[in-house]
């Protein structure tokens, strides 16, 4: 009896979340792909053919015959989409690099901090993550505006005599992404640096390495798992970012998340937005799988 109960319990613990994720996370992607092969229609839902399971296998085959790749052809014909994909990847890449540049010294400093204050520092890094993303992006509008707080400060200090135009440029997007995603980069780097054995750097220095050389030859390579995880956590979501380019970027800023949103909400073209999403997913599937692989490996090492 206990054994039967145990087997049932084990099964349910796996099956319930598994089924939930299959239904609400995985299956929707197939629906996206399917709708990307449909035609736009003035109807609700605004695409054709509508999938109807009641029509039987014959009906489904008829539906499949109506599938077309017109939406994808459309995406290649309008240069706007290709530009949006490339500029999203470029913006995400630059922002990831800038985030790493700022996050690494912070994480390094935290890992070197006395044990007593480390939990407090950790808490302070995590705290902004709990405050709304939207609010944190919004806060930068008042700072970066031409008559905003940053320009006021710089003008008062006499550093500049003309207000800097930052808001509605790509620089504002870089700042927004670096700011919003900084904790995602600091935390994994910190945890890999914290685990490190300090006698290794000491040994390197005893053997005649300068501290800087010891850092590049010993510390940095050992922190690579954290660096890779952090870069993935920043890069992947940043490629499809919508809020930051929408609020901080300008009219000429092209990012694919914003394009998808406009295609869906303003143009109400569901099949084209599904096609945009499908290609974005294809671009990101490699980094996502890489990220998952790295995480699973880290988990099994922690076991």
């Amino acid at each position: 009896m206990a054994k039967l109960g145990s087997a049932l319990f084990n099964r349910l613990v796996i099956i319930i979340p598994y089924a939930w994720l299959l239904f609400f996370f995985l299956i929707p992607f197939f629906i996206v792909i399917r709708i990307s092969l449909s035609e736009t229609a003035v109807a609700m839902p605004p695409y054709l053919p509508v999938f109807d399971l009641a029509s039987g296998i014959g009906g489904i085959i008829d539906n499949i015959k109506q599938f077309s790749i017109d939406n994808y052809i459309w995406l290649t014909e309008d240069a706007l989409y290709a530009k949006a994909y490339i500029s999203s990847l470029w913006i995400a890449l630059v922002s990831t690099f800038l985030t790493l540049l700022i996050a690494y010294p912070v994480a390094y400093g935290m890992a070197q901090a006395p044990n007593t204050i480390r939990p407090t520092l950790l808490m302070l890094v995590i705290l902004p993550f709990w405050t709304s993303f939207l609010i944190r992006v919004y806060a930068w509008i008042a700072i970066l505006k031409p008559e905003g707080l940053l320009n006021q400060l710089l003008l008062t200090l006499g550093v500049i005599d003309q207000p800097l135009i930052i808001l509605n440029t790509n620089w504002a997007i870089y700042i927004g992404i670096v700011y919003s995603y900084l904790p995602f980069m600091v935390l994994p780097i910190y945890s890999s640096l914290e685990k490190m054995d300090h006698s290794l750097t000491e040994a390197a220095q005893d053997l005649g390495c300068t501290p800087i050389r010891a850092f590049w030859r010993v510390t940095f390579p050992l922190s690579m798992p954290g660096v890779v995880a952090g870069c993935m956590l920043v890069f992947i979501p940043a490629v499809g970012e919508f809020v930051i380019p929408d609020l901080l970027g300008g009219s000429e800023t092209l990012m694919i998340g914003k394009t998808l949103w406009n295609e869906f909400n303003a143009n109400r073209d569901w099949p084209v937005s599904a096609a945009v999403a499908t290609i974005l997913l294809l671009i990101l599937v490699v980094p996502i799988m890489f990220f998952q692989h790295a995480q699973s490996k880290a988990d099994s090492e922690g076991r």
């Binding site: 109960g5 319990f9 796996i14 939930w20 400093g109 070197q112 993935m232 979501p237 999403a277 988990d299």
Partner: protein, 271 residues
């Protein structure tokens, strides 16, 4: 060797100033007398008073809280199950896919998740509104809960569970009386995380909600598009205050639990 060098301190101070200054400025300007959020014109709480008369905003806040409470609770149950499945059963059919479905939502751009869930709801003919919003929030927050609980389960000493089972406890009783009390702090912080993520979400909500189910971030977003006002700063300040309180309470609770746990373990070994 001086490890905690001046360079280390400087980089931490600069990093933290960068993280916190914008939020501090936002809070300060919510008390601004003037309608501008960039020029200080004296202290005033009038924007907070005005908020109380903004019925649309209050309605949105109520929707947000209800969605948050329901979705965080269900997500915590599902996420804890998922974490158990990931740590306990290293071999089952489709485990790779399962862990993929846990990790992918953490990094998946929200526009993709939002669009795909919306298309699912349309395909199955589920009217968009409060419940579709809640289902979507459960789905993306449960993965965060799973990761948080999983990291606690990895350092969990399974021999006490085995002892309980050997003494005749059923798996459910073992889980409720032995495992759950130990992982409770992680489960609780998973819940808080799920709740705040649900509270914050704009993109997935915009895709999956329908008429009558406008959340606070959606309302704030539409106001921000019209212009920056101290009233929005005031809403944001209240939200930040709530979250800060929640995190503070969560950390105090978990620290107390941790101290209690260490004491209990020491007492157990002493006998």
């Amino acid at each position: 060797m001086q490890r905690w060098s001046r360079f280390n301190i400087a980089s931490i101070v600069i990093g933290f100033a960068f993280l916190y200054l914008p939020i501090v400025l936002l809070v300060i300007f919510s008390f601004n007398e003037s309608k501008l959020v960039t020029v200080w014109a004296g202290f005033s709480t009038k924007w907070y008073v005005q908020l109380l008369h903004n019925q649309a905003l209050l309605d949105a806040a109520w929707v947000t809280v209800r969605v948050g409470l329901i979705s965080a609770t269900v997500a915590t149950v599902l996420g804890t199950m998922a974490a158990l499945a990931m740590t306990r059963y290293t071999r089952f059919r489709g485990r790779m896919l399962f862990s993929g479905m846990i990790y992918a939502p953490l990094v998946m751009p929200e526009v993709i998740t939002g669009l795909s869930m919306l298309l699912l709801f349309v395909a199955i003919g589920f009217d968009r509104g409060f419940w579709t919003l809640t289902l979507a929030h459960i789905t993306f927050t449960m993965c965060f809960v799973a990761v948080v609980v999983q990291s606690r389960l990895l350092s969990f000493d399974r021999s006490i569970e085995e002892a309980a089972m050997d003494l005749g406890a059923t798996p459910v009783a073992t889980f409720l009386q032995v495992t759950l009390p130990v992982i409770a702090p992680a489960v609780f912080s998973g819940w808080v995380l799920a709740f705040t993520l649900s509270l914050d979400d704009l993109v997935i909500s915009s895709f999956t909600s329908g008429p009558g189910a406008t959340t606070l971030p959606m309302r704030i977003y539409s106001q921000v598009r019209l212009g920056v006002t101290p009233e929005i700063n005031a809403v944001c300040t209240i939200l930040i205050g709530i979250v800060a309180m929640g995190v503070l309470i969560a950390s105090v609770v978990s620290r107390r639990r941790e101290i209690q746990r260490v004491k209990d373990e020491q007492a157990a070994f002493a006998h």
